[in-house]
Amino acid sequence: TQLLEQSPQFLSIQEGENLTVYCNSSSVFSSLQWYRQEPGEGPVLLVTVVTGGEVKKLKRLTFQFGDARKDSSLHITAAQPGDTGLYLCAAPSYAGGTSYGKLTFGQGTILTVHP
C-alpha cells in the first residue's frame, strides 16, 4: 500500500503570507496529483506532476515533484482568504504500466487564511 504523509495537518495564516505544504512517501510514484476541497464539495484537481524535478505553476500556486518522485510540495504565494480549504495530494494506481485512476490520498492539510 502506498502511504502519503502530508504536513502540516493544519495551517492558519494571515492574508498575504506565503506557505508550503508537503506530501512525502517512501514509495516512488509515476505521478502525483494535488486537489483542493471546500466544505460540502468534492475534491477538485489542481495539477498532475509526472516528471522528477518538475515544477508547475498555477497563478500563485507552485507545485514541485521531487527528483526521486517520492515527494511533492505545494507553495502558495501571498495567500488570500479564497485559498482556504483542504489540500490533498493523491497518487494514481498503475497496473501493467497504465494508470487506472484509483487514487490513494494523503490525510490532507486544512488551510485557513485570515483576512
Binding site: Y100, G101, G108
Partner: protein, 112 residues
Amino acid sequence: GAGVSQTPSNKVTEKGKYVELRCDPISGHTALYWYRQSLGQGPEFLIYFQGTGAADDSGLPNDRFFAVRPEGSVSTLKIQRTERGDSAVYLCASSLNPHEQFFGPGTRLTVL
C-alpha cells in the same frame, strides 16, 4: 448541470438499517469511482467501475457494502446492517481518462 451529482446529500439512519446512495456521473464517462471520507481525513478508495463491471472492489471494507452500475451510467452504493462506524461522507467520481477524475459533492451518511 454537467457535473457529477449525488443523492441524497444527507442521510440519517439508525444502526442496523439498509441504505442506498446514488451517483449520476458526467454523461459519457466510462469510469466511476466510490470513495469514503471520514472527518479530517483524505478520501479512501472503495470501488471502481469500468462500464458496467466492477474492475477493482478491493476497497470495500466488508460484505455489508455492495455497489452496482447496471447500465454503465448511474451507480448505487448499498450498505446493509449499517453501523455507527459507517458514518462518513461518501464521494463519487467519474472520468473519461484515468488522469482526471471529477468528484460529486458527496452524501453525508450519519448512522445513529
